[in-house]
Subunit: 342 residues, 2 copies
DNA sequence: TTGTAGGCGTTATCAA
DNA sequence: TTGATAACGCCTACAA
């Protein structure tokens, strides 16, 4: 049955007319019910129900000048890391009575820009964003346009925004220190593109730890990938297996868990014992890591906390005119599981 | 540096003033640039840039009566199945010049209701929703309020909405037929709660196939779970292992891939050969299924197509006043992989 | 080609 | 307690 209403949605004026009151009273029923007598309030509410009244948020916002929504422009909706961050942001928003909407840029600068532009036009209270390129001009343009923006899981060369991130250099160090402790003297770093700040940081931390252990630099083999997904992880596994056994690493530190899952899949398929012959450490500690066939050790990042902190910074900026940008850096920790523990 | 603008965002009036033209001209530059001479257009655009003008979408929408956004209220942002559906919807929206926003209900009726209410107030062009309870009253209230709504991946007892779903009875049949073909005569159905329409349908299909093969009803063992996630899958694996070996199923059909992943994880951990001693078939064919340590056979559902079809139905409803609700049912197909192929 | 003015639906101020 | 009215920022006739 295609029941579609022909008439436009009822407005406060319509409600006022059928309830026999003024629009002001209807508005009061909506916004300060206590200022209205019980009798008329009931009458108005009945009229609203009869007419199927739905308040027009555009008009409300235009007049009141205040929005009830927050937005998070995500890089990749398919990566559980980001959806966990979103959950954290959602919980912070909810406890403040705000609604969080998610937009996906799918790593595309144009989509990101389109989403952000529309959100600004909608005058959302603020925008969280994990940008395709944290130093891009699009973001720079945002500054000073009045919409608070917080950058999530990225840092930026200048200090034009609040940022919330994790100390990835430390994360890389933790992973490699763990492998060194377990006696590995030949380790692969799997990740890329190396141009990504995140990846570069993790590699730097890895190298720091490697050097601190007094191991020769060339024994930390870098396998660069073109993306941070499962497919690339599998391919890295193949490349690893193709190395001559003398020079083949006995452990791999992957720049994220999707790579680690791919690597593990290749190892299992090829009959390579994990961790017996190849130990694996991932990064992020997404749920699928601990739930893999061989539970994967991973550098845990506080995902929901990241989202929550970002939302809080955003609201602080929205509320406080004298706001100064802050840069929150969370500390990662290693979660050791079977994949690296023999 | 906390550079926060004190002054409110510039309006068309401000732009008009600094460009030395009227507001009508500014509006024309925005909406019909061809109606404006190149010279004044340039002057206006310069003024907009100087002032950091951002058009107020609330005002635009209030006046024009038309929104540029679509919304998808998702059940579980952490399940890759739904994020793939969202991707499909996003691509449809994008090709129509609309923006898609995502909201997560996290399987909570109250959140779902809050999101939907706000979206309606915002007069979005339409709402896609995978509801917590497809027969709930909240949805019924939506009907006739003017906002087109399409139900995704659920069906409903009445025909008050367009729906887009997959033939889950057939899906269940395909899974079990496959296992019967492979010679299994004792199979477990893992899924729940059985009250969920989806789960019930898949079980029904499974039973149909089982009966058609002439196998005794009690040899299809039902292991009910409390949710459709990895943890429950692991637990089901434990329960399966605890059965006496004579009556233990040699194969399991899981109501979704997260359960299948959990089940596989338990099997690998317990040293149970898959598929040698336990064959596994999942449902949905999310990316992680094929990428598991033992690639998991799964009943593939067209995820992106589902989202795309839903978005198209929604826009049809929004555009056509004489719209009649339709019910699209996609056909699933079995993807056989190692986990069931010996 | 550009300017003027009315109104979209709501809220808030001020009277009554 | 309730009613009348003036914005909010934009778009679109209609006039000039």
């Amino acid at each position: 049955m295609g029941i579609t209403r022909a008439e436009p949605i009822a407005s406060v004026k319509d409600v006022a007319a059928t309830a026999g009151v003024s629009v002001g009273t209807v508005s009061n029923v909506l916004n300060r019910p206590d200022r209205v007598s019980a009798a008329t309030r009931a009458r108005v509410q009945e009229a609203m129900a009869d007419l199927g009244f739905v308040r027009n948020e555009s008009a409300r916002q235009l007049r009141a000048g205040t929005s009830r929504t927050l937005a998070y422009v995500m890089l990749d909706i398919g990566n559980p890391f980001f959806t966990d961050v979103a959950r954290g942001a959602e919980s912070a928003a909810e406890s403040l009575g705000l609604s969080l909407v998610l937009c996906s840029s799918a790593s595309t600068a144009a989509r990101e820009a389109a989403h952000i532009a529309l959100l600004q036009q909608q005058r959302v209270q603020g925008i969280l964003v994990t940008p395709v390129d944290p130093d891009a001009a699009v973001l720079r343009d945002l500054r000073g346009n009045g919409t608070p923006v917080v950058i999530v899981d990225r840092t930026r060369s200048d200090s034009a925004f609040c940022t919330v991130a994790v100390d990835d250099v430390l994360g890389g160090r933790l992973a490699v220190e763990h492998l060194v402790d377990r006696g590995h003297t030949r380790v692969a770093f799997v990740g890329g593109p190396l141009g990504l700040g995140q990846v570069a940081d993790r590699l730097r931390g890895a190298r720091d730890a490697w050097a601190a252990a007094g191991l020769p630099r060339e024994a930390l083999v870098v396998l660069e990938t073109t993306a941070l997904d499962v497919t690339e992880g599998r391919y890295a596994g193949q490349r690893l297996a193709d190395l001559p056994s003398r020079s083949r690493p006995t452990a791999a530190f992957c720049a994220n868990d999707l790579l680690a899952l791919g690597l593990l899949q290749h190892a299992v398929g090829a009959g390579t014992p994990v961790p017996g012959r190849l130990a694996i450490v991932g990064y992020d500690d997404i749920g699928f890591a601990g739930a893999a066939a061989v539970p994967i050790s991973s550098v845990r990042r506080p995902r929901e906390e990241l989202g929550r902190a970002a939302a809080e910074l955003l609201l602080d900026e929205a509320a406080d005119p004298g706001h100064r940008h802050r840069h929150v850096l969370f500390t990662p920790e290693l979660v050791a599981r079977t994949s690296s523990l023999g």
